[in-house]
């Protein structure tokens, strides 16, 4: 089966453990959301997958082939990372033309059309781009390389709301027409919750959730009502947290819902962002 397989990856930085025996599988043609708090290990994972940093132990396979020293396997991956790996003094348009040499599938005409949509001046030097436009520059390359696996680390960093909206639309258009595997690591969970098919939550260097977004959301719910009613209802349940205001209480639960809802209790949905906050607190 075509996939990225991460097997028992461990990575330490000195005494700090960044990834602790992580195993995962990214299936073909799905959009993944890689969620985690600052320092949880998201970027380390993406960098290990693309062989930019080396794990202490464990292996990564792309379509069954180990990535280590394997140009053919690595050529199937593209990582848009926080770092800009192009020479600072290079002009945007030259970066586009150079990309073709590294990624034969790079579509220069498509990149130029995206630059126009985002109003990115391709005659500018990369170092003179603002934070937002630096992200846009890197995004355009990521959307134009046409590799079967595209990894996006914080793709919308510094983008204004209009540009973020435009990016999500272009991403979905591209994905609908030419499906590929997309892994998005982001803190803007609400914005991607509809986009992603599978969600992976990483907490303190360990994977705590790896399942379909719909499946995960169906397990979380909020119980609200008077504190005493809520407390009775939630005993024996997996309570992630609760908020109280006056005599009212809202509890956040992970588990299957009871079909019988007693009077005075209201059950509502727990959205992905809230669920994430409760799981990673």
């Amino acid at each position: 089966m075509n996939c990225i397989e991460v097997k028992n990856i461990t990575k330490n930085y000195g005494r700090t453990c960044a990834l602790d025996n992580v195993s995962l599988c990214f299936e073909e043609n799905k959009i993944y959301g890689l969620l985690g708090r600052n320092g949880a290990g998201k970027s380390t994972l993406l960098n290990v997958i693309t062989n930019r940093i080396f794990a202490d132990s464990g292996e990564v396979f792309v379509d069954g082939q180990p990535i280590e020293g394997n140009d053919a396997a690595l050529g199937k991956l593209y990582l848009m990372s926080e770092k800009t790996n192009y020479p600072e003094k290079m002009k945007v348009k030259h970066a586009f033309s150079w990309s073709k040499n590294f990624y034969p599938g790079f579509d220069a005409a498509y990149a130029a059309s995206l630059a126009e949509k985002f109003e990115l001046d391709t005659n500018k030097m990369i170092k003179s781009l603002s934070t937002g436009y630096n992200s846009i520059f890197k995004l355009i390359i990521a959307l134009s390389v046409n590799t079967p696996y595209v990894l996006l680390d914080e793709p919308v960093l510094g983008l204004d709301a209009n540009h973020r909206e435009l990016f999500y639309r272009i991403l979905l258009e591209k994905y609908s027409e030419h499906p590929c595997t997309i892994i998005i690591s982001t803190h803007l969970i609400e914005e991607v919750s509809g986009l992603i098919e599978n969600v992976i939550i990483i907490k303190k260097s360990k994977i705590i959730k790896d399942e379909s977004c719909e499946e995960l959301l169906s397990q979380g719910y909020t119980v609200s009502g008077s504190a005493s009613n809520v407390d009775t209802y939630i005993s024996n349940q997996n309570v992630l947290g609760a908020d109280t205001i006056g005599g009212l209480k809202s509890a956040y639960i992970l588990g299957t819902r009871n079909t019988e809802i007693p009077e005075g209790i209201e059950i509502s949905k727990l959205d992905l962002q809230k669920l994430f906050i409760k799981l990673t607190n």
Partner: protein, 122 residues
């Protein structure tokens, strides 16, 4: 048509119901083409698999059908079929909630009937 990400209803159900509403209101007429999976996906910023899942509910119920290579179309008789379905759901969708609120407010059966009559008079 709006998708509410905070709704208790899953997104694919909202897509299916949104299309149903559009058929009932006449915005999507019978034998006319409905937007593609990509259009739904891009417009509402949802995964194409989610949009497909919603539309497949309608395909399974013969509300919408696929024409190979052309797209998806509203079936003849879809509007009537949906009206019947909504009528069946009317009690659960509206009356149950209405009675629950009436009970909380101590409104009698007579009070409710009077209000309904008032609604018809206006």
């Amino acid at each position: 048509m709006q998708i509410n990400f905070n709704s208790d209803k899953t997104i694919f159900i909202q897509i299916a119901e949104g299309i149903e509403d559009a058929i009932l209101s006449g915005a999507f007429s019978e034998e006319s083409q409905i937007p593609s999976i990509t259009e739904f996906s891009v417009t509402y910023k949802i995964n194409p698999a989610t949009a497909l899942k919603g539309i497949n509910i309608l395909v399974d119920n013969d509300i919408v059908y696929k024409k190979r290579g052309l797209g998806m179309f509203v079936a003849t008789g879809a509007k009537e079929k949906l009206k019947e379905k909504r009528k069946d759901q009317f009690y659960d969708s509206y009356i149950v909630g209405l009675l629950a609120e009436a009970k909380r407010l101590n409104l009698s059966e007579e009070d409710i009937k009077t209000m309904i009559e008032r609604g018809y008079e206006q």
